[in-house]
Amino acid sequence: MNRRCVAQVVLADGADPKDAEEVAQALVSASEELGAVRASHASVHYDFAVGGGDLTWDLFLESEATVGVPASSLGAALLGVMNGDRLGELLPSSLGSLANRVERVEFAQPELIASGTNAPGLVGVKRTLWMRVNPAAPPDLVARFEAETPILADGIPAIRNWRWSRIPQRDFGEEGEGRTVGSNTESGAALRWTHLWEQEFETVDGLQIDYMSSPVHWGFIDRYFDPEMPDCIIDPWLAHLACPETAPVLSWDLDR
C-alpha cells in the first residue's frame, strides 16, 4: 500500500478564513485519532493559489494492520479512504461538524516517479501542482515529460525537497466530465488529476521568483503546458496550490 496521501480540501461557499484554519486543525486532529496515521499536516493556501481547493492536507500512513478504531465520523471516513473503500472521495456527510464548511476533499495516493531531499526537516513553503495529462497524449511524449520534469529540481536550487508522482487512476473510480469532476454528487466524486508535482521552498520567493524565472521552466519544461506548443500534453486547468508549513512534509521519513 502506498503510504502517502495528498488531498485538496475545498471549502463550502461562504466559508471564511477562520473556518479554513479550523478545518485544518480538525483534519489533523481527526487523523491523529487513528493509530495508522504517522503524520498529518493541513494548511490553508496562499491567496495566489489557483485552480484547486482551499487547503492542502498531507498524510503519512502506517500499514493497515495497525489501524485503530476511529471515534469520529471523519476518522471513519478516513479509514475507509485508507482501505481503498471509496478512494478519491470523502463526502461532507462524513465530516461531522465540518460538513457545512467543506464541499469536498479530493484524495490522491501518489505513485512515486522520483524525489529529492536536499533539506531534511525544512519547514517552509509547500507547493503542490496537480495536473492532468491529456488522455490522447502519445505515450512516448508522456514518458519524456515524466523523465524531464525532475530537471526543474536540478536547475532551480530554491527547490529544496521534491516529489514527482503519478496519480493512479484506479484511485478515483470512473472518470466524470469537465469541471463537474470531483463535485459532491450522489454518484460520488471522481478526480481528474493524473500527476502530482510537489516541492518545498524556504520562502514564497523561491516559488514566485526563482521557479517562475528559471529558463529550465519557461524555456524547456513549459512546452508541455503551453497550449501553443506542439508538445503540449497538459490540460490548461491546473491546480497550482501553495501553503505555509507548520512541520516538515516532504522530508517525512517514508522508508522508516
Binding site: G155, I156, P157, A158, F201, E202, T203, D205, G206, I209, D210, M212, S213, S214, P215, V216, H217, W218, G219, D222, R223, D226, P227, E228, M229, P230, P236
Partner: protein
C-alpha cells in the same frame, strides 16, 4: 504585458512550419488575418516572416512538388513578456487557430531562444534564493 518593465533580455519565439505544397499563399493570408493581430496583442512582436526555399513554386510544372517552410521569428519583452503572453494564450480562439491552420502545414515546431550573452542573465534572475 504592455507597459511592464522587461525582466531580463529579449526572448525570441521561433516558429517553423512545413507548408502543404501549394498552400503557402493561403497560409500567409490566414496568418495575417487570424493569428498575427491577436498574437501581437499578447506581446509577440513579429521580427521576421521568412520562406524557404524562396521559390515561386506556382511557376514550376515539374513533379514532385517542392515542400516549403515558413519561419516566423517573434520577440518578447523578457520574462515579463513571456509570462504575459502565456497568461493570455490558453483560449478557445488560439486553440481553434492552430486546429484550423493545421490544414496548411505538414508539421510545425515552436522554440524559445535567447542570445548566448543573455543566458547568464536569465540564470541569475532564476537563482535569487539559491
Amino acid at each position: 504585458m504592455e507597459g511592464a518593465e522587461p525582466l531580463g533580455d529579449t526572448i525570441y519565439v521561433i516558429d517553423e512550419l512545413e507548408i502543404v505544397p501549394g498552400q503557402l499563399d493561403g497560409f500567409l493570408k490566414a496568418f495575417e488575418r487570424d493569428y498575427r493581430p491577436d498574437a501581437e496583442s499578447r506581446g509577440q512582436r513579429l521580427l521576421q516572416r521568412l520562406v524557404t526555399p524562396p521559390i515561386d513554386t506556382g511557376r514550376l510544372a515539374e513533379l514532385p512538388p517542392i515542400a516549403q517552410s515558413v519561419l516566423l521569428i517573434w520577440e518578447l519583452d523578457g520574462l515579463s513578456g513571456f509570462w504575459g503572453m502565456r497568461s493570455q494564450n490558453a483560449t478557445a480562439e488560439v486553440a481553434e487557430w492552430w486546429r484550423e491552420a493545421g490544414a496548411f502545414f505538414v508539421s510545425r515546431s515552436r522554440r524559445f531562444a535567447a542570445s548566448p550573452e543573455a543566458i547568464a542573465t536569465f540564470e541569475t534572475i532564476g537563482r535569487m534564493n539559491s
